[in-house]
Point group: C2
Chain length 258, copies 2
């Protein structure tokens, strides 16, 4: 009953030599968090086959529910993500006619050279579901690795975002996960932790978690409660927290509710 | 004779929920690259013990020469990096008197509470070399894990940067590694690769590598040559490249020399 969690694999030498800051991770982290999910971890590697395989292995060994890769889907020969994935999975690369005809309809290649580039981009690991790109050219792919879903997205931010919203968001299931975030001052986690333990027992389908932090030198405690169980009223939990905090002289407010 | 390579472990929930963009990775990537080294990969995880252990295991399994962690060294109890490292290595946590007296001299704690916070921060995994913090409070640590060096740095950017320059840079050995970066247009990697093969044979102590990329729709090829061998004149390599590129109608210039 925890949050749906993702592991992100960002592929691109430019991210490791300081040429580009990893805005994709920030965007994905913030977006997935606001949908009630969580990025469990992230790994960044060069556009090199052995390192992409290394990163995918780390991602697969993590406890995340699904994996997203970004980058390395373009037409130039240093874009090797699809090839690296196929090799790592022991699958063939095959031209996906649906992905190719979608690209051709949308963008109409002019020269023999660009046709070849399109064919390279539409060549996906066998067994992939192609993810059409409405904003750029290179298609993405969705693959199942055992029980884990792997979404292969482009690195160009506007293409990545469009494809995330189109193909990954429905999988996270925004509509079924609801949560509240409370912000508490002047109460420490150690004080409130017996109540949290009690709440997790009374509401077994709810995931309750506390996050202490410092804000401008003041210690703040956030308690979150998430559930996919439509029969639970999360405001009941909020009221229990509120009673406790007020009885102990602290301040509480509802920071976020989805 | 390759570049010295680092694996970066960034620890902090704020990086995975989109609250903070990973500027530390960009800075480290750019700085290590300009010193002639390379960030081989990077992993970002939450301030949770099992995930810090997971990240360290990935880093240790990589081919990088050394590991840097950032984050989780502060006084609050969600700062658990030292504890997680000690547990992962099966070592005890011990109060480091040198680190503590350095902090006390520099910052003079006022209350009993702040003294306790200082003691928490000066408690390091057994066998650590403390890295004094001249900019903030929390000390870092250096540990040897087998043959790999682990630098444990703070997450606050200005503290991290100061400690990197003080303790990690000398290890990378700026002065012994020299390199050139050439920028080539209108020649493709496939054309020039026989010359690169020839150069790696004629100069066995030099690491020669090509990086193709796209810049504003134009394809650009960079060829880098790095060496720690003081008897090599890298400009000889540059001249061979220049002769080849000019003979084939391309453009070349020396983009960087260290």
């Amino acid at each position: 009953m925890g949050r749906v969690s993702a592991f992100i694999v960002n592929i691109g030498t430019e991210l490791l030599i300081g040429r580009t800051i990893n805005g994709n991770l920030q965007w994905l982290g913030s977006r997935i968090y606001s949908l009630g999910g969580e990025v469990l971890g992230s790994i960044t590697v060069h556009d090199r086959k052995n390192q992409i395989a290394f990163a995918l292995k780390c991602a697969l060994n993590s406890e995340a529910d699904f994996i997203i890769t970004t980058g390395g889907l373009g037409p130039t020969y240093d874009d090797i993500t699809m090839e690296a994935i196929a090799e790592w999975l022991g699958k063939k690369l095959v031209l996906n006619e649906n992905a190719l005809s979608f690209m051709i309809k949308l963008r109409k290649p002019m020269s023999e050279e660009s046709k070849k580039a399109y064919e390279k981009m539409a060549t996906l690991p066998e067994g992939s579901t192609p993810l059409f790109n409405y904003v750029g050219a290179a298609p993405g792919a969705m693959l199942l690795i055992g029980e884990k879903r792997l979404f292969v997205l482009p690195g160009v931010p506007r293409e990545m975002k469009d494809m995330f919203e189109r193909y990954v968001e429905p999988f996270i299931g925004h509509s079924v996960s609801r949560g509240i975030v409370t912000r508490i001052e002047e109460i420490f986690e150690a004080q409130i932790s017996p109540l949290i333990t009690k709440l997790t027992k009374s509401f077994p389908s709810v995931y309750v978690k506390s996050h202490p932090s410092m804000e401008y030198g003041k210690s703040v405690l956030r308690i979150e409660a998430w559930t996919q169980d439509s029969s639970v009223d999360l405001m009941e939990i909020y009221r229990e927290l509120e009673n406790f905090v007020k009885a102990h002289g602290g301040k509480i407010n509802l920071e976020n509710q989805t």
